[in-house]
Amino acid sequence: MDIYQENILDHHRNPRNWKLLDPYDFHASDENPLCGDTLEITLRVDENDRVVAVGWDGHGCAISQAAASMLGEEIIGKTLDEIKQLDKDVVLDLIGIPLSVSRVKCALLSLKVLKSAVYNLESQQ
């Protein structure tokens, strides 16, 4: 099935929260070296560790960028603990269309960066 459904293309053309926050509480960036997709995420949380703002920046294919845009919307209002629980199905469900093996990595880059941010894994990059 064609993965470039209207919602994917819409998020790709008009990415939500596509601007890094400054200041921020959490931050991480990563790259999928094989395809060159890059992603950087910033988060701001309230006193209950609940995400109040997301900002991201990146370059890559429509799948990786749309996934970042959708995931960013999804996590607003979630606690850091809830984010730590997220698994890849959340992203794949947001995409909504089955992805081939070679594209799953594109979709999951944003989740990987998000987790790095909340686990404070910045220094490992």
């Binding site: 470039y4 293309l9 395809c35 060159g36 429509a62 594209r103």
Partner: protein, 409 residues
């Protein structure tokens, strides 16, 4: 007359339906070519009637298998006009051939202070093995840069040579990304003038052009079976006999020894010194059939056909708004069109083309340094043609690009 319609009938996969229901437009032959029936049948027939382990089996089946295996070596020898059959070594792929050179000739001859010259358009197979050994031995790697015309900068090459200590020059004959046909004859001549050996990565040349290793006077030449209508699992290394004789073996095991004791071993004669263990017998036989097939059509005719398609494809691509091509002009161009389309990531483009039955490759094509450090992009789309490719397939590609553009913009 080059009859592409007839040639297409030789390739079973080309008449298979694509999952999309549309006809398959296979434009990824530079990654791996399709196989004609004669090649598939040669292997099937071998397994059904002739299989046994080769060498030193004193029974009819083993002798027949040995004969067929060695006949494939003779075919390859003639195909690239090597002087002697002992100069043809079967490996696993081009990558295996280059690693063999690096780990035997390189390990024996390179040391701190030496220089190995590569180019910025090399495939990883002709970069990474050298980097691995350089990290151990401390020799230096210098790269011939790529000009804005997608050619090698031969002036810089000359400067590198004159800086001294160059022991080996290793270059791709045809770039798998740009399609550039490099002036390897000149490069080899200059390398020799400075006392360096010359190695050529022929993965993208042997399948597509006439190659004569003696005329080139090249020291080592590496290529793969699977890109030239042959099977996976087999590669070829040509080497000048006196160099191969002087080299230590690479892998140890059966068939490559003359005598083994608990204390040590002595080596078998060429080419067996470099063929340890049970070889890729069926694959060699398939490769031999591929050589026969390509020779039947004629390498000059194949090259002509592909070069024309390349010209046509780049002309048509120029009509598409937002397309940028990364290929040199003739006579340096070959049957490859590599491009980006503004606003559509190469991976998305390849995926959308696939929905229309068009198979192209998107990514860095195992040439990250070329993409990042020369072209300054992360990825590109490559359409690569072969003897069975047609103008109609180019037209389909262009039509699909237009559709993709519409959808994304």
């Amino acid at each position: 007359m080059y009859d592409v319609a007839r040639i297409r009938q030789d390739f079973p996969i080309l008449s298979q339906p694509h999952p999309s229901g549309k006809p398959l437009v296979f434009l990824d032959s530079a990654a791996s070519s399709q196989k004609p029936s004669v090649v598939i049948d040669a292997m099937t027939n071998y397994y059904r009637t002739q299989h046994a382990n080769v060498h030193r089996g004193i029974y009819a089946l083993s002798e027949a298998a040995t004969h067929a295996y060695e006949a494939a070596r003779d075919k390859v020898k003639s195909f690239i006009n090597a002087e002697q059959r002992e100069e043809i070594i079967f490996t696993s792929n081009t990558t295996g051939s280059i690693n063999l050179i690096v780990q035997t000739w390189g390990r024996q001859n390179l040391e701190n202070g030496n220089v190995v010259v590569l180019t910025a358009m090399e495939h990883h197979a002709n970069i990474v093995p050298w980097q691995i050994l350089a990290a151990e031995k401390g020799f230096q790697i210098k790269y011939i840069p790529v000009t804005s015309d997608y050619l090698l900068d031969l002036e810089v090459f000359e400067r590198i040579l004159s800086e001294g200590n160059v022991k080996a020059v290793s270059v791709g004959h045809v770039s798998n990304v740009l399609g550039t046909i490099n002036p390897v004859e000149h490069i080899i001549e200059r390398a020799h003038a400075f006392g360096a050996i010359a190695i050529v990565d022929g993965a993208q040349s042997v399948p597509h052009l006439p190659v004569d290793v003696q005329a080139l006077d090249v020291d080592f030449y590496a290529f793969s079976g699977h890109k030239m209508c042959g099977p996976t699992g087999i590669g070829i290394l040509y080497g000048k006999r006196h160099l191969l004789e002087a080299m230590p073996p690479w892998q140890g095991g059966g068939d490559m020894i003359a005598r083994v004791t608990l204390e040590g071993a002595t080596w078998n004669d060429l080419p067996y010194k470099f063929e340890a263990g049970t070889p890729a017998i069926a694959e060699a036989i398939g490769l031999g059939a591929a050589v026969d097939y390509l020779q039947g059509i004629g390498m000059e005719a194949i090259h002509q056909h592909e070069a024309e398609l390349g010209v046509y494809a780049r002309e048509r691509l120029a009509e598409v708004e937002g397309v940028q091509c990364y290929n040199p002009a003739p006579p340096y161009a070959s049957g490859v069109a590599t491009f980006t389309l503004e606003g559509v990531h190469p991976h998305d483009l390849a995926q959308i083309l696939d929905y229309e039955g068009v198979a192209v490759r998107a990514g860095h094509h195992c040439a990250m340094p070329l993409h990042r450090e020369v072209l300054c992009i992360h990825a590109s789309v490559r359409a690569s043609f072969y003897l069975y490719s047609t103008r109609e397939e180019v037209d389909t590609l262009i039509a699909c690009l237009q559709v993709a553009r519409q959808r994304f913009l």
